[in-house]
Symmetry: C2
Amino acid sequence: MRASDRAYAALRDDITEWRLLPGTVLAEVEQSERLGVSRTPLREALSRLTAEGLTTTAGSRGVVVTDVSLDDIDELFELRETLESKAAALAAERADPGVFLQLHKELLEAPALIDGSDPGRHAYYDLAGRLDAAIDAAVSNSYLAQAMRGLRVHLVRVRRLAADDAQRLTAAAAEHAAIAEAIAARNPRLAEAATILHLHRSLSHVKNTHTPHHKEHHG
Amino acid sequence: MRASDRAYAALRDDITEWRLLPGTVLAEVEQSERLGVSRTPLREALSRLTAEGLTTTAGSRGVVVTDVSLDDIDELFELRETLESKAAALAAERADPGVFLQLHKELLEAPALIDGSDPGRHAYYDLAGRLDAAIDAAVSNSYLAQAMRGLRVHLVRVRRLAADDAQRLTAAAAEHAAIAEAIAARNPRLAEAATILHLHRSLSHVKNTHTPHHKEHHG
DNA sequence: ATGAGGCCTTCTGTATACACTGAGGGAGTC
DNA sequence: GACTCCCTCAGTGTATACAGAAGGCCTCAT
């Protein structure tokens, strides 16, 4: 793997896992020494992060980690609802039902995954990721898929703000199951409605459980 | 202005103006010499182009200009319809009507601009760009605005494929005027409908006037 | 004491040199 | 004659050196 890829992945994870807090200045020499790469691949990594919106160039002070305010979360979910509800509807028109029937079956059994002992909930998030990937594949629109990929990076960061307790994840699994079921039934409007419902509940959960502490890390 | 910005702008224009045809290999040393910059800023420019989708890294052969097939245009307009119809609806909910009343008035007078002698139709495209900017500002969603910015780069390239004759531009101006009018009237569903209608007619025009010659430039 | 100006430090932006990988061609062998 | 192996070369990936700019701090003058 290239050094620039390693630097990008490391920085992206540090930002989405909130190890690098908003407002942190990412000085090139400092980060290149920390990550063990030279400045050239590090700059490429910073360019990619800035293109995705995880960092921004603050004048001549280098790049800083972007903030995530309450307004940002609203805007993020507004775009997310636009894209994902459309994607779900298109998937319902174009999908092979078999894939989504299988996903639906697995999602109904998701509570067993969530009650498990994995604190990272990897098994569940893997399953949710497979549903996203299946929708992307069914929609078969590379531009739409790219736009949603760009969003999901930010969503991982927001997800870390909310306490994803077992109760919420169990409910989310049921909502995901409803989406998969609607797509398998090839019902676009139902798939769209199920997606909108799921996203609204996700947003409510994020906003209720964890009032974002977005202005306290600016030193 | 930085050298990397100049290199990016030059390459982006060369690609959207079809001076660099799809399939063209952009070798780093060759392009850095042509544009009069070093390899380092040129690489940054190529990274930006690749992030936008105008180029792609073809294995170890460097970056190549991406192709625009008929399917790509369909996908592009599918995403464009999703984003712009939503943006128009949100703008209708949130806009200050004054701005769009003024734009509506100017768009009704657009045929005078189009009949002018400017072959680049700059006056008209400026007006259309101001409508886009006004919608972006009214929606006030930076994520949605960024997603639409990413699309517009590709649309400029596709526009060059179609013969934007005075007749089509006059019709497009009327469609734009309908969108501005609906937003000024604060009617979201009407704004959405007018946008969908405009995009469908644009797509039909592109596909009818100029069957894309997308497989003939691959040497 | 306070403000302004100059110097110094440290950062980014750019250029260039070096290494490594992959592909292509030529020669040798079966 | 064909296939395989090796050599060479071109091109990217990485490191580092250098220059220009900006910000901060110190000093001097008022």
